[in-house]
Amino acid sequence: MSAADAEAVLADALSAGSLELGEVARLEEVVDRRALGEVCRSFFELFSIPVRVFSSEGALLADAHEEQEICRYVNTLGNGRRACSKLVSEVKGIDPEAGAVTHPCFTGAEYRIVPIVYQGRRLGRFVVGPYMPAERREVPRSLLVLDARLDGEAARAALQEMPRVRAETIQRIGDHLARVLDLILFSGHRAFLTSNMHLASVKESFRELVDKNTQLQQAVDRLRELDRLKSNFLATVSHELRTPLTSIIGYSDMLGSGIGGELTEEQAEFVETIHGKGEHLLALITSLLDMNKLEQGTMRLHREIMPARALIDDLQKTLAPSAAKKGVILVTQVGEGTGTVFVDPVRIKQVLFNLAENALKFTPKGGTVRFTANVTEAASDDDGFGSVLLSVPRRAVEIGVIDSGIGIAPGEHDKIFDAFYQVDGSSTREHGGTGLGLSIAKRIVEAHGGTIRVESEVGKGAAFYLTIPDPDDA
């Protein structure tokens, strides 16, 4: 049964009020036809009296009879046939309201018609007969005058075949059958209600589920909207902050360079502080904005193919001055056949700069920082079903930023990529920073379809590697 069918059945059941009030509207709804047929048959076998069950609309629901000798005989006569069919339709038409009634046949036989009442409602009737009242001895005149060709002796003989019952017995038989039918109705009614309740309960539970789902969906939508508002807010505020901040940095720079006239040592120091803090604040705002874009997935990458060596050389050039100042040696190493990478140069330079800045920050004087680039294979991040077929190995370039500094305990390796996370310790405090560098780096690398990892132990330096795969159709 399809869902729509089930729904229709249910709507029927409910609208008829049969479920709501537990009523039976029609006999056919609840009664098991086969059980009804069997009861009638066994009744007939027991008493040899025919039984028929009718619905309240007059439809025949069960029938157990054999043609009586007298009926067969009467039906051989023209007038007999007509009288017989008239009588049968009369009997069928009787719908006793106030209790069982008896209806006579022109043969002298009788029919008993008993209403079927269930829970105070008339749902149909059953007809017992024809039978011959035991009290009747004579062949009635109504039979003798029926047809000119009627043979009195033959009719008498045929009538002898008919089951004879006393009025009081037929009443008892009727009552008994009514009780049996009531039981059949009761169990049929129970089965009917049970199956309807099953159906209705399942449907009701389903409706409830759909309701809850809708509510959840609305909650999710609301949260999404809030999230979007937060992002917009962040973007707007950052932008609004950046404009005046750029002015502050610009003017303090000009002041510091003496454009506005010579400064005293103290003034120069103040201006220097203003400039430094301004730069720091600008960097922080830029990072927050980047984070937000990355979270939103709205950071657009402008990827191009460029030599890996160019990236390494650029990095070396940018970092050389601060490395020299700190007394740290920079080394670059580009493996053979490294060739090109497919990246957004601005973003990847930002990543490499962050890593290199960290390396310098956490490597004491006299240490070494190496920048490397080599060809490798992109790690397949999918080891699920069918991955053999689905993820074909791809060429990738691995860029390393390796230092000989203080190192990172293995337990911290995952955490340092979280936003705002910094390893506890005096070295970190002494170096300041916000703890955003690595988390931004990780997101940018992942936006390239690449990975970033760290190898390090405390006191043994740290090595950060990022792997950038070639494009799919390479």
Partner: protein, 226 residues
């Protein structure tokens, strides 16, 4: 409710609600035993599991009252177990009155409260006005140890606006009083909304007296709530 003016027939639906195992089915069983055979039909129990109701029990009653008006009363129980809420809501559809069967045991206080809140919610969800619904409350299992005392219940009854009955359904005590109490409330409500008395040409005092007598109030000890 169903009206049939031609047949002079009124059918109403009364629902026995309450927490699991509070004695709803037992109430119907007791009513079936106490009401005279000509007024009651068969008690129908739809599917049970370890004697816990899964769908509902149904007991039809028929009483002739006030000048040949046939009053058919359908008593339903709901399944009390929390998980059968969808079924409970279905059975509640079209209810004309509710008997809330509470468990008197102190340990069941919270279960009673939760079931009552659930009733209120299901009424609302079925679009029925909880404030107008005829409701009586029965504190059942008065024979158990550790129950709320009579004076406590009387105190609560004074504060509340619903009629409160005490019962030991297992011994048939208090169940007919609860039923008759609910019937009276329900009749008055229907009377107010539909002017049944006038339409059927029956007089309320006479009708209620007839129903009380037919349901056999006299057959039960008056001090059932001993």
């Amino acid at each position: 409710m169903q009206l049939d003016f031609k047949q002079r027939e009124l059918t109403i639906k009364l629902v026995y609600y309450g927490p699991a195992l509070s004695g709803k089915t037992t109430n119907l069983q007791a009513i079936h035993e106490l009401v005279s055979p000509e007024s009651r039909g068969r008690l129908m129990t739809l599917e049970t599991k370890d004697d816990r109701t899964l769908f509902f029990d149904l007991l039809p009653l028929t009483v002739m009252a006030g000048k040949g008006l046939q009053i058919r009363v359908k008593l339903f129980t709901v399944p009390g177990q929390v998980i059968h809420n969808a079924t409970r809501r279905l059975v509640l559809q079209g209810a004309d009155g509710i008997a809330f069967i509470a468990d008197s045991q102190k340990s069941e206080t919270n279960a009673n409260k939760a079931a009552f809140l659930n009733l209120r919610q299901n009424l609302t969800e079925n679009g029925l006005d909880a404030a107008k619904m005829p409701l009586v409350i029965q504190f059942n299992k008065r024979d158990m140890p550790e129950v709320r005392s009579d004076s406590e219940i009387d105190e609560m009854a004074r504060k509340g606006r619903e009629p409160v009955f005490k019962a030991i359904a297992l011994r048939g005590q208090g169940v007919i009083e609860t039923l008759v109490g609910l019937f009276e409330l329900t009749w008055r409500r229907l009377e107010k909304d539909h002017q049944l008395g006038q339409k059927f040409g029956v007089e309320e005092t006479q009708l209620l007296a007839d129903v009380r007598a037919k349901l056999g109030v006299k057959r039960v000890a008056r001090e059932a709530t001993r």
